[in-house]
């Protein structure tokens, strides 16, 4: 319960990692896939993206990296990886398995 302005938006601004606006979704994936505590998950992603841990929530720095690595961006431009395409790249960049990417490969391969 609680309206989204009060709950989701307030928490996201007060203490969230910004989702795919920065590297929040990537840290979340590592935590969910490898069961890492937050500091380990942040370090893992920072090392993979070759940035400092403090830069993981910087939208300017991370957006450039996401564009370069085709990891999906908030404002999709023509030709950039989107949705499932970006998740293929995320799995590769973070060296983790993504359930739906594996499923897509199984369904799409001949």
């Amino acid at each position: 319960m609680g309206d989204p302005f009060a709950m989701a938006i307030t928490h996201a601004h007060a203490s969230g990692m910004g989702g795919m606006r920065a590297a929040g979704d990537l840290v979340a994936r590592v935590q969910m896939t490898l069961g890492m505590k937050i500091e380990d998950a942040k370090k893992y992603v920072a090392d993979k993206l070759k940035v400092a841990i403090s830069e993981l929530t910087d939208p300017v720095i991370i957006n450039e990296i996401r564009q370069d690595m085709q990891l999906g961006v908030m404002t999709p431009t023509p030709g950039c990886a989107k949705g499932m395409e970006a998740k293929f790249r995320i799995a590769e960049a973070l060296d983790i398995e993504i359930n739906c990417v594996n499923r897509f490969k199984q369904r799409a391969s001949f």
Partner: protein, 348 residues
């Protein structure tokens, strides 16, 4: 010294002097310490909380670099609930692209595993389509909700009717049967959604129907972990304390009734849960400082014992967030900041 504007647990504004506020902080942490048999917050931690409440800004936040992951229960319901007429995939995209969500959860309006079982084949394609067009990790979530397994909603005699008439053994027997059925439903639906590509399954509001509810969730998590070793399983609790509706149910030799978060998390770990979501309820007649100090005391004990990531619940009515459909930003942001800064946690 001027008054500090804060609120009661129902959101009503109140002005407290610095000494009154500190008194409430101390009473809140002592209440938690007494109930949970855990250490109270230190003087430095209470001072830190006082400083957060004294900040003049309406909105406050953690310092850069200290941010944590956000996970959401009943994710897509929250958009429909406020009357915004978008479908669920659009709701996921709104959270992802407009609200900065780190993860998101697809769910059905009938948010329990039992009613989802017969319609899971209608849920799977939604998840499969959502996964094609979104980027953040997607959970599929629902509640164990063991209340749905007793009459008149389910097949088994209602323990809430049996207990007042002194039929203790019959009530216990009924609860044990609900556990068996609930486990089957959770494993069936959770497995189906995972096989459709979900990044994780969220067992939400666990323990709402008491110790049988918690037991069903632990057994279901164990079975899902056995069947899908790589699945992310999040277990989010309903309340701070496991109600002993049965009273004698155990998991791996530990009696479930009466457990607080720091003991609940150890069982979640044994069951193979990936992320644990502990809860502390908000008391509407106490102040926000009292509630926040109390919530942080419980969560600190949980965070210090947990070896798996924990995401304390900070939604309406829990984690010192006020019991009101429109929780004020001043209290939500203060609670958010304080929880992250004082508890060894991994997300909210």
């Amino acid at each position: 010294m001027g008054k500090i504007v804060t609120r009661y647990g129902d959101g009503t504004p109140v002005e407290l002097s610095e000494s009154e506020l500190m008194e409430d902080l101390r009473a809140g942490t002592e209440d938690a310490a007494d109930r949970g048999n855990i250490p109270p917050l230190t003087d430095d931690e209470l001072k830190h909380l006082l400083d957060i409440f004294k900040l003049p800004q309406k909105f406050v936040s953690v310092e850069p670099g200290n941010e944590v992951i956000m996970s959401y229960d009943a994710g897509t319901l929250k958009i429909r609930r406020v009357g915004v007429n978008v479908d669920r995939i659009q709701a996921l995209q709104i959270y992802e692209k407009i609200m900065g969500a780190d993860t998101m959860e697809l769910c059905h309006v009938d948010y329990s595993f039992k009613p989802l079982k017969p319609i899971v084949t209608m849920e799977q394609p939604i998840m499969e389509q959502a996964l094609m067009s979104t980027h953040v990790p997607l959970f599929y979530g629902a509640m164990p909700n063991l209340g749905l397994y007793s009459q008149p909603d389910g097949p088994f005699p209602n323990p809430s009717e049996l207990l007042p008439s002194g039929k203790i053994n019959e009530a216990r027997e009924s609860l044990e049967k609900t556990v068996e059925d609930a486990v089957k439903d959770i494993v069936f639906v959770g497995g189906a959604m995972y096989e459709s590509g979900a990044d994780g399954i969220n067992l939400d509001t666990v323990g709402a129907a008491g110790d049988a509810d918690f037991l069903a969730s632990l057994i279901a998590a164990e079975k899902l972990r056995g069947k899908y070793p790589k699945m992310c399983i999040e277990m989010s609790m309903a309340g701070e304390f496991i109600l002993g509706m049965h009273g004698r149910l155990e998991y791996k030799g530990v009696r479930l009734a009466g457990l607080y978060a720091h003991d609940q998390v150890k069982l979640a770990e044994k069951a193979g849960v990936t992320i644990f979501g502990p809860v502390v309820n908000t008391n509407t007649t106490e102040s926000s400082p009292w509630n926040l100090a109390r919530a942080i005391t419980f969560m600190k004990a949980c965070g210090e014992t947990a070896t798996i990531p924990i995401h304390p619940n900070m939604g309406m009515g829990v984690g010192a967030v006020t019991v009101n459909d429109h929780p004020p930003v001043d209290i939500v942001s203060r609670s958010s900041k304080a929880m992250v800064e004082l508890v060894r946690l991994d997300g909210l």
